[in-house]
């Protein structure tokens, strides 16, 4: 089983090469840092006071995560998951996949593992982008002071891990839908609607029951405008549990499908 999974995973990883999902991950993860760099270079005269602040890296980290947590991370989960599954439908390849000597569990888990690693890569690239957003203007603009502290003083591992967990329910829900929809517009459309519903639900007390809202809740929890969300202390556990439940449902639907491919 393990060897079978490793080889299937390797094959799945190869399929994602040069795919639209891969391009999207790189573009989406670096978009916010690229905008920050561009804006700071354009307004370079006002950079010195920003870089002189003692909490420079914390401020940069927080502002970068705003668009990431609310917009890019949920959309990356929606698009990457749907597009990676779509590779099989587009290539008319499900029948080939199911005729290979591997179990349905291995097929299901190998593809899911690829999606999770792509999401991890998305966060990793974003982190690298934020780092560059901090140091590139400092290196290019004369007279900008060296920021206090370093990027690596930030709670990188903890914050990335928690945001990753918060995005997992979206991945599981999208995976479930994408495996059943030959038309990629179905999971993407449904995902977009679910994300819009999540944004609409944030102001209410019901947002916690909407898995597409978890990354946004996480970001807003310690902000003044998200005070009403601070009570959701078990958010990450709930996200993990929702991911497990949706993945289990997706798996059962996948293996019990009467016609494969």
């Amino acid at each position: 089983m393990t060897a079978s999974f490793v080889h299937a995973f390797h094959g799945e990883w190869l399929k994602r090469k040069r795919s639209f999902a891969s391009t999207l991950v790189v573009g989406g993860s670096l978009f916010t840092p690229a905008i920050i760099i561009a804006v700071r270079l354009l307004h370079h005269r006002g950079l010195a006071p920003i870089y002189a602040k003692p909490g420079f890296w914390q401020e940069l980290w927080r502002s970068s995560w705003e668009s990431m947590a609310i917009f890019f991370l949920p959309l990356a989960a929606i698009l990457a998951t749907s597009l990676i599954v779509q590779i099989e439908f587009k290539g008319n390849a499900w029948k080939q996949v199911h005729a290979l000597p591997v179990s349905a569990a291995v097929i299901f888990l190998a593809k899911l593992a690829v999606i999770l690693i792509v999401m991890a890569k998305f966060l990793l690239l974003f982190n690298a982008g934020v780092f560059l957003a901090g140091i590139v203007p400092y290196g290019l603009v004369r007279g900008v002071p060296k920021p206090a502290g370093t990027f690596f003083d930030l709670p990188l591992v903890r914050e990335n891990a928690l945001y990753f967990v918060d995005a997992l329910p979206i991945v599981a829900a999208q995976y479930l839908m994408a495996l059943r929809s030959p038309n990629v517009l179905v999971p993407i459309g449904a995902g977009f609607m679910a994300w819009v519903a999540a944004l609409a639900s944030i102001s209410s007390g019901y947002a916690i029951w909407w898995p597409y809202a978890y990354t946004t809740i996480h970001y807003l929890q310690d902000k003044p405008k998200g005070a009403h969300l601070a009570a959701f202390t078990q958010l990450h556990w709930l996200a993990a549990a929702t991911f497990v439940a949706l993945t289990a449902i997706g798996y059962v639907l996948f293996v019990t499908k009467k016609e494969k491919g």
Binding site: H7, A8, H10, G11, L14, K15, K17, R18, S19, I87, K90, G91, N92, A93, W94, K95, Q96, V97, H98, A99, L100, P101, V102, S103, K258, E259, K260, G261
Partner: protein
Amino acid sequence: MTAHCLETHGLTHRFGDHKVLSGIDMQVPAGSIYGFLGPNGAGKTTTLRLILGLLATQEGEIRIFGRPLAHDRIAILRNVGSMIESPSLYDHLTAAENLRVLQLVHRCPESRIREVLDLVGLADTGRKRARQFSLGMKQRLAIAGALLHRPSLVILDEPTNGLDPHGIIEIRNLLVELNRRDGCTILVSSHLLSEIERVATHVGILGRGQLLFQGTIEELRRHRQEVLSIRVTTSDNGEAMRAIATDGVSAQLVDGEIVLSALTRERIAAINRKLNAQHLDVYEIRSVRNDLETIFLNLVRE
């Protein structure tokens, strides 16, 4: 290995209330090239999908290499290569990358990728992606994928669909070579008898969800004699039919010709003498031996 590489017993399948396969007892001898024939919609692809486990078996049993598919599916599939309907390819990958995906799962030597690409004539495609391939190239790449792990049984569903005559000949030669050189059993479906009769050692003919004929290609050819008919053309076919009928021979008028069922040479000569005696001019008497195509059509139309 058992004498039959693949066997189905009472294979029956329904889509809703519609029965598409009814009690299929298929026997594919080991080492044969088994032509699986039938018109479009006869149930060929459904049968092949059942054999690969792509459809859940509702009724009946499938045994491959003597083992039940229901219990040993993964072990069986290690020795089966397949191509069902249109090629399954990842358009954004090259030919070698497409095969690499399969090679990783089959865990066969990486050198096999080059070998099968050579075999199907795609070794020079380099960095060209599959989306830039012609239909024939895609078809050949999919066949290469089916052969990659040196399977004992290769299942190909209409492998020459969309190919030009040259491509059809290439695929045909490839199948014969594989069968002779590696001794692998090949189950190849088609709706064209002309395509199958050139390569197959055995034939199964499917029509309306039933296996109408199964046997060697020679057995199918022997059907020629059984369906022999005689055609007669005279100066007055109506009068001639009445004369023939008095001898107890059933005759039909088809397209301006009198069609008689199979007769001995002596009876044909006697009918000729009788027509002459009645002053009817006999323009033509010929025996019609049905070719394989006609036998096939008769079987599936009956």
